[in-house]
């Protein structure tokens, strides 16, 4: 089973959402599908995790929402990255690289 995003990886989920919104604004389902697509099916984000994350990140001010028309001409809530969100994405990316580098080193050492 592909590991689901849990509260343990909440920080990771934030990063994924920010990254996927960096390529363009999207509604909730779209974000979820994008993440699935980018990670090649490794991360399937259920709505039970996605929406709380989205709303919290909106509260933090990293993403902003607005109502717009979806593909089937219905109303849907769209999210976009804010300037603060872009900054957060940068710092999170750097942090992630540092961590993965450190872990890689640990694993290399015998």
């Amino acid at each position: 089973m592909p590991p689901e995003s849990t509260t343990l990886l909440q920080g990771t989920l934030d990063l994924l959402i920010l990254k996927s919104l960096a390529t363009g604004e999207m509604h909730g389902l779209g974000v979820s599908r994008r993440i699935e697509q980018i990670t090649g099916g490794t991360f399937v984000v259920k709505p039970g995790s996605l929406f709380p994350a989205l709303h919290r990140m909106q509260d933090e001010g990293w993403i902003a929402s607005f109502w717009g028309d979806s593909e089937n001409n219905r109303r849907a809530k769209y999210y976009r990255l804010t300037k603060a969100g872009r900054k957060q994405l940068d710092s999170e990316t750097r942090r992630w690289s540092r961590i993965s580098l450190a872990i890689a080193r640990v694993l290399e050492a015998s």
């Binding site: 509604h27 039970g48 709303h55 909106q58 509260d59």
Partner: protein, 892 residues
């Protein structure tokens, strides 16, 4: 910036809930639609697509709940909703809420008020430098009861010379003086002190330089230091008062200082006037004091311990110095020892027993309040087991349930705590206002935060323990069992019942202890007030007159003054009789000395029988209502010239004349001088009844009465027996006095009733306070047992219904319920009685005429408690009998 955004979000989350919710619903809807469309595109049927979409979503409500939980400020929001729910619960149970809040308020409020007062009185900040190093040094005599006997000046000099534990010693002695000039003549208490008095206390004057070593010499001692209060009141806070002159007793004195605002001499023992000094002046010893004669004992002595000396050291050294003096000067000092008392203890010591008893009472009340609260909360917890089980079943985490209970307990604690603080503030002020001034003479009292927080914490802790814990524990376990149950008879309910029963028993026993204590004090007070003082105290007005030496220099002048004053007053309308006396009863003042009864062998002064000496005017005994036992009163000639006669009281005869005929005995009273030759013996001409001189609770002492001409004192108290209200006579009195001598102030006016009242005021106060606490305790305990029985009745509704359906009568049900209560009352009373028997010993110092194990009290008070407790059980018992069996059987 991030903080601003977050704050804005927080605000929105808390206050725009409805909009947020509808927005979220819409978002969920649209998500569902998009997902369904996705499934449709994958080739599923419309119905199938929708179903799959719903499955994948996992439940709209759950997702919404997750979102709500993660929102900023969700935590705060749910606490607030918990609080709202708790408030609704509390409002829905007004009885419970009221009792709980009252209990908390009483426990915290009463506790804090008393503790604050006790703390302030026993740990009062003394207005002296480093007061912990100050001690009072008294003489004491093995034959006399007074541990704080005033000191002889020659002994002071020897102590000063021979000790190595004190860095400095000072003496003081107070007297009444007339202050004239700059207003009406006023009587002031003056304290004559050694020039180093303020140095010993470490106090610098607020104005001026104070006393200098020069002031310790004769001729340079016409200086005074004025108290701050006097400076403000009489001298209008004149900034240039230092250097000016004031007139005391006709003699001018130069003001050299004004004492600091908070400065006061707080020791009442050893005072010769019983008043508060407002002027200090140096008292230079005449040369005769250093030659070791008997000059009388009238000084109070205060000393400062050296930094490296400790109290036990000082005590033992002073004791050995005293024994040296007793050997060197057996005439004056044999049988006399020394008593060293820390100043703080001297100031508050006589209050300690009463205050400690009250402290104990308050602790009991606090315990009872906690027990009450705990019992209440336990009962609520038990009745809510169902509700909690349901909550847990529909998905509430234990933490969530616990948090709600916690919020409820906190809310209760907050309400009770606020009420408690308010009660504490009001109670402290009420206590201060209502207390007799000789018990607590503090102007105001800040709230003692330490005690307040302790009381609050104690009750909150109790609340948490019994309000929160049981509910929380039950939320963790036996959920399915609880849900399945028809009744409430789980093991946890049994445990809680045991706890509740124990609480009620504890409450009853504590209440009983307090009630017995109060009962003992009440009986004691009744006994005290019933004591016959030995004279008629009603309709008696007293006032003091001090004749200044300047205008009344000779004995003849003084005798003449009173010979004019008394008949003048007697002639006024409304006056039944007039007389005068040197030290009237109930003022706590007196003079005593050795008496040599000539028919008995001679002995050195310190071994002679001791008697009080009183100087009286004409008609004294009839005016006071003191009966004549044998012989006669003084004749008019004996009252106008020195004729060497005396009258003694029955106590004197009983103690010193065993069997011998009192009339005709010759007594050499060592009052005028302390050598035999100058004390011309007086002949006893009469024996009168005893008077309780010092107070209703002290036995009469042997007393010798002299007519005024025998020892012409310049300060006398005039006693006026009036027909009507004595106080109505005051204006007339003022006029009469003014007519005789305009420079004499009317001072120390009091009715004998007032003086008597004052002497028993501390007993009355302690009794009232303990009575109030006992009443509190009784009410709380009654409420406690009422609550328990009432709750038990609702628990047993089914059982009682069954019994009644099977033929039980009203009285059977009543008996059943009352027996349950009676068992608790019996246990509680038995425990309480045992405790009281052990603890009542602590009250003995406060009791009069009543033993600590007084049978009447020990028997009636428990009966009274039982009656009240059973009455409290009766109400729910009656309700039990009204249960309709059919309803009860269906009741769950």
């Amino acid at each position: 910036m991030p903080l601003f955004t977050k704050l804005r979000s927080l605000f929105r989350n808390l206050f725009s809930r409805p909009d947020l919710e509808s927005d979220l619903s819409e978002e969920m809807q649209s998500y569902l639609e998009l997902l369904t469309r996705e499934k449709l595109r994958e080739g599923k049927s419309p119905a199938g697509a929708r179903r799959l979409a719903l499955l994948e979503l996992g439940g709209v409500e759950q997702v919404k709940e997750q979102v709500r939980d993660r929102r900023l400020g969700s935590w705060l929001h749910s606490i607030l909703s918990d609080a709202r729910y708790a408030l609704r619960q509390l409002r829905g149970n007004p009885g419970f809420t009221l009792v709980a809040v009252l209990t908390l308020a009483l426990g915290i409020g009463a506790n804090t008020a008393i503790f604050s007062v006790v703390d302030a009185v026993l740990l009062r900040r003394l207005p002296y430098h480093d007061p912990g190093r100050l001690v009072m040094v008294w003489e004491n005599n093995s034959d006399r009861a007074n541990p704080f006997n005033t000191v002889a000046p020659p002994n002071f000099l020897d102590w000063q010379a021979r000790n190595s534990v004190f860095s400095n010693m000072a003496y003081l002695c107070d007297f009444r003086s007339n202050l004239t000039g700059g207003g009406d003549p006023e009587e002031i208490i003056v304290q004559a002190v050694s020039a180093n008095f303020f140095d010993v206390l470490g106090v610098k004057p607020a104005l001026g330089g104070g006393f200098t070593p020069e002031n310790a010499q004769k001729g340079h001692d016409d200086v005074v230091i004025v108290s701050f209060g006097l400076w403000q009141r009489r001298f209008a806070a004149d900034p240039n008062l230092v250097g000016k002159s004031i007139v005391l007793n006709g003699k001018p004195q130069t003001v050299v200082g004004v004492a600091p605002a908070n400065f006061q001499w707080l020791v009442k023992d050893g005072s010769l006037t019983g008043g508060t000094p407002q002027i200090w002046t140096p008292f230079v010893f005449p040369p005769s004091y250093s030659e070791h004669k008997n000059v009388g004992r009238f000084l109070a002595v205060v000393a400062r311990l050296k930094p490296d000396s400790a109290l036990p050291q000082a005590e033992s050294q002073m004791k050995s110095i005293a024994s040296q003096l007793a050997v060197e000067y057996p005439d004056a000092d044999s049988h006399w020892g020394v008593n060293v008392v820390p100043l703080r203890q001297q100031v508050a010591g006589h209050l300690r027993p009463a205050l400690l008893v009250l402290l104990g009472a308050v602790v009991f009340v606090l315990l009872i309040a906690c027990a009450n609260l705990s019992g209440l909360l336990l009962a609520r917890a038990a009745s809510r087991e169902r509700e909690i089980a349901v909550r847990a079943a529909i998905g509430a985490t234990p933490w969530r349930i616990a948090r709600q209970l916690l919020v409820e307990s906190m809310l209760l604690a907050l309400m009770g705590g606020t009420a408690g603080v308010a009660l504490a503030v009001w109670g402290t002020n009420a206590l201060l206002a209502a207390s007799p001034s000789n018990l607590l003479d503090l102007p105001s009292l800040p709230l003692n935060l330490r005690i307040l927080s302790f009381s609050v914490l104690a009750t909150v802790f109790a609340g948490l323990l019994f309000g929160f814990l049981p509910s929380y524990l039950s939320a963790h376990s036996h959920i399915s069992q609880t849900l399945k149950e028809a009744g409430r008879g789980t093991s946890s309910a049994r445990r809680s019942a045991l706890a509740r029963n124990s609480f009620v028993i504890a409450q009853l026993s504590l209440a009983l202890v307090l009630l017995i204590g109060a009962g003992l004090l009440i009986r004691s007070f009744v006994r005290l007030v019933a004591v016959d003082p030995g004279f008629t105290a009603t309709h008696l007005l007293t006032f003091k007159v001090s004749l200044p030496d300047a205008t009344y220099a000779t004995d003849a002048q003084r005798v003449q003054f009173f010979q004019k004053l008394l008949p003048m007053i007697a002639a006024a309308p409304g006056v039944r009789s007039v007389s005068m006396e040197s030290f009237p009863p109930f003022t706590g003042l007196g003079a005593a000395t050795g008496v040599h009864i000539l028919s008995q062998p001679a002995a050195p002064l310190s071994e002679l029988p001791v008697a009080n000496v009183r100087v009286i005017g004409p008609d004294y005994f009839p005016a006071m209502g003191i009966p004549l036992r044998s012989g006669r009163f003084f004749s008019p000639q004996e009252l106008s010239e020195e004729r060497h006669v005396a009258i003694v009281n029955q106590a004197f005869v009983d103690k010193y004349l065993q069997g011998a005929e009192p009339l005709g005995q010759k007594l050499a009273v060592y009052m005028k001088s302390l050598t035999e030759t100058e004390n011309f013996p007086s002949q006893v001409v009469g024996v009168v009844g005893d008077v309780h001189q010092m107070g209703l609770d002290s036995s009469p002492e042997p007393t010798v009465y002299w007519p005024h001409p025998e020892l012409v004192m310049s300060g006398m108290t005039v006693l006026i027996r009036t027909f009507g209200d004595p106080r109505a006579f005051l204006p007339v009195l003022r006029d009469e006095l003014h007519q005789l001598d305009a420079g004499l102030p009317l001072a120390g006016v009091a009715t004998m009733d007032q003086l008597l009242g004052k002497s028993i005021s501390s007993s009355r106060f302690t009794m009232l306070l303990l009575g109030v606490f006992a009443a509190f305790a009784l009410v709380l305990a009654a409420v406690g047992i009422y609550g328990l029985i009432a709750y038990s009745v609702t628990q047993r509704t089914q059982e009682l219904g069954v019994r009644m359906a099977m033929g039980a009568q009203t009285r059977d049900v009543l008996r059943l319920v009352l027996m349950q209560g009676a068992r608790l009352v019996l246990l509680g009373a038995a425990l309480g009685l045992l405790a009281a028997l052990g603890l009542s010993r602590l009250l003995t110092s406060l009791l009069f005429g009543v033993g600590a194990l007084d049978p009447l009290t020990i028997l009636t008070v428990p009966a009274f408690l039982a009656l009240v407790a059973l009455a409290a059980c009766y109400i729910p018992a009656r309700r039990a009998t009204r249960v309709d069996p059919l309803v009860a059987l269906r009741y769950e």
